[in-house]
């Protein structure tokens, strides 16, 4: 499936943080530092065990086989 939304993802993710929070956090740790931290572009995604919301455990390596977009978020 090569369908993806230009803004839909943003609308959802945008509920997870606010601009000022973002700015404050940026002071703590600069974004450019993040880019050179591991895993850098070109390196493998670390393989760790994670869960689906039903509690089923799987490895991040199981995500291979597709282009995959991963975005961190939470309820607050």
């Amino acid at each position: 499936m090569r369908y993806f939304s230009q803004f839909g993802l943003g609308l959802l993710v945008a509920t997870l943080l606010s601009g000022p929070q973002l700015a404050l956090a940026q002071k703590e740790k600069k974004d450019e530092d993040f880019l050179v931290e591991k895993p850098a572009v070109g390196e493998m995604l670390p393989d760790v065990n994670v869960y689906n919301p039903d509690g089923k455990e799987f490895k991040t390596a199981d995500l291979r086989g597709h282009y995959t977009v991963l975005t961190f978020g939470c309820l607050t």
Binding site: L17, L22, P53, L70
Partner: protein, 347 residues
């Protein structure tokens, strides 16, 4: 092409829904399911383990974003999610799409957070600006009661650096357990076991007895610490009476081991106690996105929480958010912490 959100530790406990950090995997799975419900979207969530291994492995950011190729290699990364750029990245990697997915296709939502079973604002909150979460280990018991109330422990800079300063102990009811304080019996009590060399003014404390029979306001204490060596963990034991919905009431005693060390996964509280948004500062920081320098924000200049509410916040419908309209957003953000249902921005 696949999309996933990764559910991680809370970035801002107490914000929008008074959620608190989960302490068990089951509780975090509940958070992820609530996120699906509250935020909508058909995009599935992946839940990080309780030791936050994926967050740590990928740079410890609250809203970072990665694109992985089919072999598992990182081909794009950014510190903050930026969907418009993701789209450009994906077009560069796999080509243009035949049909652009609309917001409604992925069933986006912005539902209200969990309701609390009793009043929240009946106890004045303590101010705790610039305090940071401490590492703590809840002492879970196999057949023990759930931690209906969860400790939030924070230290000021002095305490973290030198062992002398302010220690915040806040016992917050977890909305996921639908619990409320039973005020008909003895109020919540805490007791600190102090190893040699630790000096804390109030090693024991009791919450104020309230007239209302029940409420969900946090029970908070701010302690003066004269000395706390970094290698000496404290044990905090708390006893409280809580009822779950209308069904049953319990008196529980639960403990935590507390370390004089900043918890990088603890998040930053933004509650009334943690500090409301300051109008001027919020406006100043938001206008930092004013790329064309016209003193107002167009939709293309907006990111973060403002974006999904842009049209509603643009009360004069001129296509821009001016300072006055941003101030209205601050009011809205701050009222999210008031008991009951959060107010919606003015239409």
């Amino acid at each position: 092409m696949k999309f996933f959100f990764i559910y991680k530790t809370l970035a801002h406990p107490e914000l929008v829904g008074n959620y608190v950090q989960p302490i068990t995997l089951d509780e975090r799975l509940g958070h992820a399911k609530q996120a699906q419900k509250q935020l909508g979207a058909t995009i599935p969530w992946i839940v990080d383990a309780m030791d936050n291994r994926l967050k740590h492995a990928l740079g410890d950011r609250p809203n970072s974003e990665f694109i992985i190729d089919p072999k598992g290699k990182v081909v794009r990364k950014r510190a903050w999610s930026f969907p418009a750029q993701v789209r450009k990245d994906l077009e560069a990697l796999v080509g243009k799409v035949d049909r652009v997915t609309k917001d409604e296709d992925i069933k986006l939502a912005l539902e209200l957070p969990l309701k609390v079973p009793a009043e929240r604002g009946v106890v004045p909150r303590l101010k705790r600006p610039r305090m940071q979460a401490l590492v703590m280990e809840p002492q879970l018991e196999k057949k023990g009661q759930p931690f209906y109330a969860k400790l939030r422990a924070e230290a000021d800079v002095g305490l973290l650096k030198t062992g002398e300063g302010k220690l915040y102990l806040g016992f917050h009811l977890d909305p996921f357990h639908n619990a409320h304080w039973n005020n008909l019996t003895t109020p919540l009590k805490y007791k600190l076991e102090l190893p040699e060399g630790v000096k804390i003014e109030k090693a024991t404390g009791e919450a104020t007895k309230l007239k209302v029979t029940s409420d969900v306001a946090p029970r908070e204490f701010l302690l003066d610490v004269g000395s706390w060596p970094a290698d000496q963990p404290l044990t905090v034991t708390v006893t409280y009476a809580a009822c779950v919905g209308d069904l049953a009431c319990y008196t529980v005693t639960q403990s935590y081991v507390l370390r004089r060390k900043r918890d990088i996964d603890g998040g930053g509280a933004r509650s009334e106690g943690g500090g409301l948004w300051d109008t001027e500062e919020f406006t100043r920081q938001s206008l930092a996105g004013d790329k064309d320098g016209d003193g107002k924000l167009s939709k293309s200049e907006v990111r973060g929480l403002i974006l999904p509410h842009f049209e509603r916040l643009d009360v004069d419908h001129d296509g821009y958010l001016e300072a006055a309209e941003l101030k209205e957003l601050v009011r809205w953000l701050n009222t999210h912490h008031v008991p009951g249902v959060p107010e919606q921005p003015k239409k």
